[in-house]
Symmetry: C2
Subunit: 355 residues, 2 copies
């Protein structure tokens, strides 16, 4: 390819789309034309990228031709929209990088995290590369680095998911803020059974109960055998990205009253004995990971501190209390950035050099 | 003993003390005189128990004789106060039930959860019975019941601790409410690195960082090998109560913006194969446990729903995704009730029948 490639951003006006346009503005500019797409309701509005206002094009009947000449299309839209439009973009000649759940389980679509399995993006029978979900992306760079060193044998993870990962667009964040407004002024709430539920009322937004002053042990829809769809995804995506289809992994996904920033408590058992010293060395030198680990001095990552940043932050690294082959640690990452927009853009930037 | 025993409540005006006085009012009345004690600052105030206002006696120089004739003393005070005054109460002839950390590791002090190891309370060389900490108490009734059925081999737990478990008295709750007041009205907070930390300011109360809109992966003080003191306690207490000194257990304690109600994500591996059906039967018939487990219908426990109730609520019970000997589940309990006052009172009620 001699001229710079043309990029399409599909879903440019949502929360992930906004993060993507920011990143496109600040990353090295490898793109020629950038076309923005969104649902017909957002079409005609403008969005800023690389310092310029761009018109948002409609994704709808007759807009197939808008993909003419697109070399790479970033899909930041829900599953149903991606399932319909990604093949159209491919038919028009684009490579698609999709952040939805539509293709993550398709054996003909590689599931890629550039820090862990970058080469997988080169084999894409359907012309599509999938990006994992936000919880997998929070933990996978750290787990992948430790796996390369020690060989992971088993994972037990509990994820604390932020509000912005729930619902369409801003629905989760809006619901959390509305609930906080209802409960913040009351000096008694949270002390009697169900009082927060009554204060929040029937409409808890995209959550299965009140999120303010609470922890909800459920996100997504019902999967198999009592797991939630979110838990199944973290399991399946982690196995695929690590290339360990039989990896033993137990996942619990909780929703917590945090705006943006997923955090994950990880218990990892390895094939080989581990030391915290060597784990620190590995994590401190791994791309996409920042080690921040001196808890006695107050140095540990928290979601509110790392929101808006690119890497996965790792702290609380310790030999698991009774097992010389196991480590416990805590990871935080921005679910809209590394957890969605950033990983997709990293894939796109790696793919485009091969186009 | 022919007349009803005399009870002392030491630390009657704190959060746990208030819960205790409520329970004494509503439980079957096995007590004769009830004497209330607290620090000299609270002395002279009055508190209601069994429908009567009682004067609060000072715990200070010269008040040793106030324990004359006390048969059982409930200690609901910090470690240093318990360490000094519990032996005095014992010397005056009382059996002490202590909720602090002062005696939990003492081999001559039994550590008791009446649903799990009731008989241990009968052997008390120092005249003291210890009650575990709030996080252990949230999970131990369910784990103990499953252990009796399947034989527990390994535990990996991540606890989400509520604000009321931190600091002295109401300090944790007051700090969380103050922080919520500072962040609730701002529609942008939680979206930029450290913005919540700046809004909350330097004084985060008893927490090692801002708790509103956040998750803090640290509670207590620094223990050994990177663990927090809270994590070490959950490990040690769980082993003692189950009578399994070599139990493999990994613990992570997080603090979350919940007023009261600890929740715990538990991964448990057993000696014998498990089924969810049998686990449900065991949990549904175990004292101190309520099974609430139909997540697709919205039935799972949350801290805000179970606060103010006595039992440990269990939901999300499922065979761990890849292990026929393992279960994952989620437990919630009120850290001021079962997690402190209730367990101590249950011990006292069991001890008093032997006096």
């Amino acid at each position: 390819m001699t001229s710079k490639p043309t990029l399409a951003v599909v879903g440019a006006t949502g929360a992930v789309g906004s993060a993507m346009l920011q990143m496109l503005t600040h990353h090295a500019d490898v793109w020629g034309e950038i076309r923005l797409f969104d649902s017909p309701g957002a079409a005609g509005s403008k969005a800023a990228v690389r310092g310029e206002e761009c018109e948002v094009l409609a994704l709808g009947e007759g807009s197939e031709e808008s993909f003419d000449g697109v070399d790479l299309a970033l899909f930041l839209v829900p599953e149903a929209v991606a399932a319909r439009w990604a093949p159209i973009a491919v038919a028009k000649g684009a490579v698609v990088v999709d952040t939805s759940t539509a293709f993550r389980g398709d054996p003909d679509v590689p599931l890629v995290v550039p820090e862990v399995n970058p080469h997988a993006a080169r084999v894409r029978p359907r012309g599509i590369v999938a990006s994992p979900g936000c919880t997998t992306l929070a933990l996978i760079a750290a787990v992948g680095a430790l796996h390369a060193e020690f060989g992971v044998a088993e994972l037990v993870v509990t994820a604390q998911q932020a509000a912005s990962g729930a619902g369409a667009g801003q629905a989760g964040v809006d619901a959390l803020r509305a609930q906080l407004g209802l409960v913040a002024g009351d000096g008694e709430l949270g002390t009697q059974p169900g009082d927060v539920r009554r204060a929040v009322g029937e409409d808890a937004g995209p959550f299965p109960g009140p999120l303010a002053l609470n922890v909800l042990p459920w996100s997504g829809t019902a999967g198999e055998d009592g797991a939630s769809s979110e838990e199944e995804r973290v399991r399946d995506e982690t196995r695929r990205v690590l290339g360990l289809p039989g990896l033993r992994i137990a996942v619990t996904c909780l929703r917590v009253p945090v705006v943006t920033g997923h955090s994950v408590s990880v218990h990892a058992r390895f094939e080989h004995p581990v030391t915290v010293g060597r784990a620190h060395e590995v994590l401190a030198t791994s791309p996409g990971v920042v080690l921040y680990d001196d808890p006695a001095a107050g140095d540990f990552p928290t979601p509110a501190d790392v929101v808006g940043t690119d890497p996965a932050w790792v702290g609380r690294v310790r030999r698991s209390m009774d097992d010389e082959r196991a480590l416990d640690f805590f990871v935080c990452a921005d679910n809209l950035r590394k957890g969605a927009a950033l990983n997709a853009l990293q894939i796109a930037e790696s793919v485009v050099t091969d186009l």
